[in-house]
Amino acid sequence: MSVARKAESKIQNIPEGKKNNLLNNKVIRSILTSRWFPAIIQIPVLAVFTLIVVELIAGPGSAHDNFGTAGTWVLWWPLIPIIFVLLGRFWCAICPFATVSDFVQKIVGNNRPVPKFLRKYGIWIIDIFFILITWSDHTLGVVENPRGSGILLLIMTTGVIASGAFFERRTWCRYVCFLGGLSGNYARSGALELHATPEKCAKCTTQSCYKGNEKIAGCPMFEFPRTMDSMARCNLCANCIKTCPNDSIQLVTRVPSKGLWFIKKPKFEESFLAIVIMGIVFVQNITMLEVWQEILKALENFIGTTNYFVTFTITFLIAMAIPVLALFGSSYVSKLANKRSTIENFARFGYALIPLDLAGHIAHNLFHLLAEGKSVIFTFMALFGVEVGHGASTALMSDSTIQILQYVLIAIGTFASIFAAYKISKTNFEAVGKSIASFMPFAFLTLILGAINIYLFMLPMAMRM
């Protein structure tokens, strides 16, 4: 059995044996099947979240002094993509918003079915939210202003309360949450995979993994492990492990990005999100460069207005459009070889860019984590009136070390994306002898995107110490 065939059979829920199954480990199994899991993690996370919200709303008005800002944007936001790589969507299982939603649902939940439009357009809604939040962040200053961040969290809290109060399971997390969309895309390439054992599921009459039993609820993410073909929506809450009467669920490790190689039903909107994230990373990088001011001035002269809403929106649209159009271009060239439609090629190969997205996302935020990491400690201690590190550097590492790490990450991401495109091409077009011709345009595109990322990280950043 070839490596590709083995991996494919895995996605189709055909087990290769249980040697890889993490649930064979007694400690892991006992943790995941404990009645306290994941509540034991949810509660402290909710407590920290509450502190952060209070701090953002009522703490120091300056981001520099605010623990909420430091905790959210210097610690949590840079760490979250790393968690997605290692543990898939596990964050979603312990996310404080989801905890609030679950609580409200328990008390006053109407448990109505998910509206049709959400089921149909959920991913588009996530795409639009993600773009809008990034745009409003730049124009309204959500991140750099604690109050702005606080209001964003309050809006999201209201959303999850409404969702938990009226709709069943975790409707918000599955269909609306922009972070859920991001984490879903990243989790596809994560190092963990949960799947069922088809032989055992074939004999199952209860389907309690989906429906739940008298003690444990069914899958909160509307997934049926028996037919689940990716980790995009599984949040590893372990409900299915607890409810399965046949011990069918397996939790295995895999090479990161392997989950992208054999996607059976690619969706255009999911690939679109992958390429939009690339554009967003470009926007974040460009606006941090010293040349950004010159670009802005040139743009202001060209369009004849100094209104930042206008100038930024134009830059934002261009930065978003370039990667999307480039992916369309590659899809068109690939179409000439494999005779599938441009849209189908876009949908199929767009997933291959996820590793580079992840690398760009992590590399970009690495600066904040490593160059400003101590600010989390300083601002936390300040909550208790303890002055630590006044005037001291917030850096955990030197700029040059961080820069090397950024290059290494981009190199790994570029390689993983090219390899994923190769695997996708091989799986879909090897039979018709068009795998290399279909793969080449995407390999070329990935190399260009990787080179642009490296170039942006090479330029001096205005914000560096």
Partner: protein, 130 residues
């Protein structure tokens, strides 16, 4: 039966309308009273120091010039820690743009949603019994 459903719908619609009205009023009141400290709109043109204003992200930089306004304050007011604790009290009032009207608006919306859901759940329970 249909009449009851119509009443239920009407009640839900009116409650939702009320909650929306309440929230919009609170936000506009806040804007009028000039307390919108949180969302500083960036419509100014570029300047030498505007880099910090334009940088956004989910990636904020605490070392940027714009982020160091408080440093100047600290220098004026003295020790970091002391200033912080005093600041909390002052900010708790209004000085640092804590918008309690907006916060209250959100709390009210959330309470309304929970109330509507509770009524809806209760009426759904009562209906099958009848």
């Amino acid at each position: 039966m249909q009449k009851r459903k119509a009443i239920k719908r009407g009640m839900l619609i009116s409650l939702i309308s009320l909650s929306l009205l309440f929230s919009f009023t609170s936000i506009s009141l806040a804007e009028e009273s000039g307390q919108m400290g949180g969302m500083d709109m960036k419509v100014e043109s570029t300047s030498e120091n505007s880099m910090s204003e334009h940088e956004a992200t989910p990636d904020m930089d605490l070392n940027m010039e714009g982020m160091k306004e408080s440093d100047k304050e600290e220098k004026n007011t003295g020790e970091h820690g002391e200033e912080q604790s005093e600041g909390h009290e002052e900010k708790g009032e209004t000085s640092e743009g804590v918008n309690w009207v907006v916060v209250g608006g959100f709390l009210a919306i959330n309470a309304m949603i929970i109330l509507i859901a509770a009524i809806s759940k209760h009426s759904n329970r009562v209906e099958p019994q009848q």
